[in-house]
């Protein structure tokens, strides 16, 4: 299943080897398509099943049964014949210029070119169909001091646990809301790691808003597991609820966390602060490919627009899993299978009826996996001050731009993030807006008094991940490419 030396032509490229990508690649290759699975990580698994093949955490109860489910996706992938290229950073997906309407009169999908970088060498792959399974990112959690060393995302802490068996050792505070925060706390409990306090920022009023959605949640597969885990954490650890303000402090490195609760400020000493307030789709690649996206008011994030099969607005490009909207690992897996079936159909390998019949069980499983989602989304919707921070808070970590500077740009007439970006450089650093995009949109929207949907999002361009100039220079070029540069 590792890459044959140099093959640069496939029916389908699946980008991302998390649950969605693993399931999609296995299904499509298992039914005869030539499939390449690309992921920048060295091992399959994506974020949730990170290092599932080689984690040093041998005690299975620490990471929990949901984690180990990931291993079950690997066998089918291996047997499917899909080519897996780990360590491949995809920096561009685009249609080559010369690929107009097909000249041979045949129908069938046009070509798509994938720019990737592997072991420091860039290459272009040609495929007929792309399934992006790029997953989610932790939602930015802009608070004063969140750039201090010692402040990490809870997701980051979980990666450290899965890949290296590392847990915090000094005074440790976790803060925020959402299922992952509870899961990590629970995993730390199993591992015997120290947690001094959990500062729960779930707004009180969210419970009221979520209550009507409770019946759906009661039928959800999460219910049993999630509740049990949360209760155990609450029983064994100090959980401080209704936290409405947070500040990380320290001189060069984190020393303490100040939180407000019922109008009173308290300070906790801390060597490590783990922040989390949910996840949002990782849409940079889709955005840079030109896929239309829309604002999701419930999840308060942008998501690429997709149909029932994950197809985007760009012909031949589909999305599956959290990259298309947050649904969790099990939903991602089923969405990956649906996208794979649709790809097979578009490639002419199965007809519409075959596709629909094969899809039925996956669709049912997807619906099951999504049951109760609305309740979680509403309950864990982050509070306004943590999405739209005060003036002195840095929103763009790369260029060190504060929320106040963004507001000032709005007063100068910036009506959206792209003009703000050119005025302030927010979103121009190496992270390419991944850690400021959602915040900048919301700050501008709040300042203008309009919805984020009206404000819009950064328009991104490849490379969506940095590559070296030498790598770029070594790519194949056509005569026309060279003329465009040299004939002047």
């Amino acid at each position: 299943m590792s890459g044959q030396a140099t093959r640069f032509d496939f029916d389908i490229a699946v980008i991302g080897a998390g649950p969605a990508g693993l399931a999609a690649a296995a299904l499509a290759a298992g039914r005869g398509a030539s499939v390449v699975l690309l992921d920048e990580q060295a091992e399959p698994g994506g974020q949730i099943y990170r290092a599932v093949t080689e984690t040093p955490v041998r005690d299975r109860k620490v990471l929990g049964p949901d984690y180990w489910h990931g291993a079950e996706l690997l066998g089918p992938l291996r047997d499917s014949g899909a080519v897996h290229w780990p360590g491949s950073v995809v920096w561009s997906v685009a249609r080559p210029r010369e690929d107009g309407p097909r000249k041979d009169g045949a129908d069938g999908p046009r070509r798509i070119q994938i720019g990737l970088s592997r072991n420091g060498v860039a290459a272009l792959l040609t495929v007929r169909h792309v399934i992006m399974a790029t997953g989610a990112l932790e939602r930015p959690f802009p608070i004063p001091g969140w750039t201090l060393p010692g402040v990490l995302g809870a997701g980051a802490a979980q990666v450290l646990l899965k890949t290296s068996g590392l847990v915090p050792s000094g005074a440790t505070v976790m803060a925020g809301s959402g299922p992952l925060l509870w899961l990590l706390a629970w995993q730390y409990l199993q591992a015997g790691a120290r947690i001094d306090a959990i500062l729960d920022t779930t707004p009180r009023e969210n419970w009221r808003a979520a209550l009507p959605l409770l019946p759906g949640f009661l039928r959800s597969p999460y219910l049993g597991k999630g509740m049990k885990l949360m209760l155990e954490v609450r029983r064994k650890l100090t959980v401080i609820g209704n936290v409405t303000g947070l500040r990380a402090q320290g001189d060069g490195v984190l020393k303490s966390v100040t939180y407000s609760r019922n109008g009173v400020e308290q300070r906790l000493p801390a060597d490590t602060l783990l922040l989390h307030q949910g996840v949002v789709p990782n849409l940079n690649l889709a955005n840079a490919t030109g896929c239309a996206q829309r604002w999701d008011e419930v999840q308060r994030c942008w998501r690429p627009t997709t149909d029932d099969w994950g197809a985007t607005s760009v012909e031949g490009v589909a999305l599956a899993g959290d990259g298309a909207g947050i649904g969790g690992a099990r939903a991602a897996e089923e969405a990956g299978r649906l996208a794979a079936l649709d790809a097979l159909h578009r490639l002419g390998r199965i007809d519409r009826t075959q596709r629909d019949e094969a899809a039925a069980p996956f669709r049912a499983a997807l619906d099951r996996a999504l049951t109760g989602r609305a309740f979680l989304d509403t309950l864990y919707r982050p509070a306004e001050p943590f999405r739209v921070p005060a003036d002195d808070t840095i929103v763009c970590r790369c260029e060190e731009i504060t929320a106040g500077a963004v507001r000032e740009a709005v007063r100068l007439g910036c009506s959206g993030p792209n003009q703000a970006k050119s005025f302030l450089r927010c979103g121009m650093g190496p992270c390419q807006g991944r850690l400021c995009g959602p915040t900048v949109t919301e700050v501008i929207a709040a300042e203008r008094g309009v919805s984020p949907a009206e404000v819009g999002y950064y328009r991104l361009r490849p490379p969506v991940k940095p590559i070296t100039l030498a790598e770029l220079a070594a790519l194949p070029k056509t005569e026309a490419d060279i003329d465009a540069v040299l004939k002047h």
Partner: protein, 98 residues
């Protein structure tokens, strides 16, 4: 500050941090190895000189940038430690020659 769980096995990998000898475990990323060795700050930013350390551990924040074997601005969380690797923390902008 991070510590290794006691049950964790795996080969020890010698490398250096700013020239000082350090030890990682097979499978560690450079960023994880720094944290395991008590180094939470890996660079000062080119914009204001503020100290930074790894934040996301999944390749998105670019706060874990370090110089690895003489090449600057590499994402520590995306590169695995190898025996003998020379990892250097960074101060401000990268130099064009490294």
């Amino acid at each position: 500050m991070f510590r290794r769980l006691p049950e964790v096995a795996g080969d020890a990998i010698p490398f250096t941090i700013d020239g000082r000898p350090a030890s990682a475990r097979a499978g560690d990323s450079v960023a994880a190895a720094l944290l395991a060795n008590g180094v939470t700050t890996c660079r000062n930013t080119p914009v204001s000189g503020a100290p930074r350390g790894p934040y996301c551990m999944m390749g998105v924040c670019f706060d874990c940038l370090v110089t690895i074997d003489g090449t600057g601005n590499r994402q520590g969380c995306q590169v695995r430690v190898a025996p003998g690797m020379a990892v250097e923390t960074q101060d401000g902008k990268r130099e064009v020659e490294r």
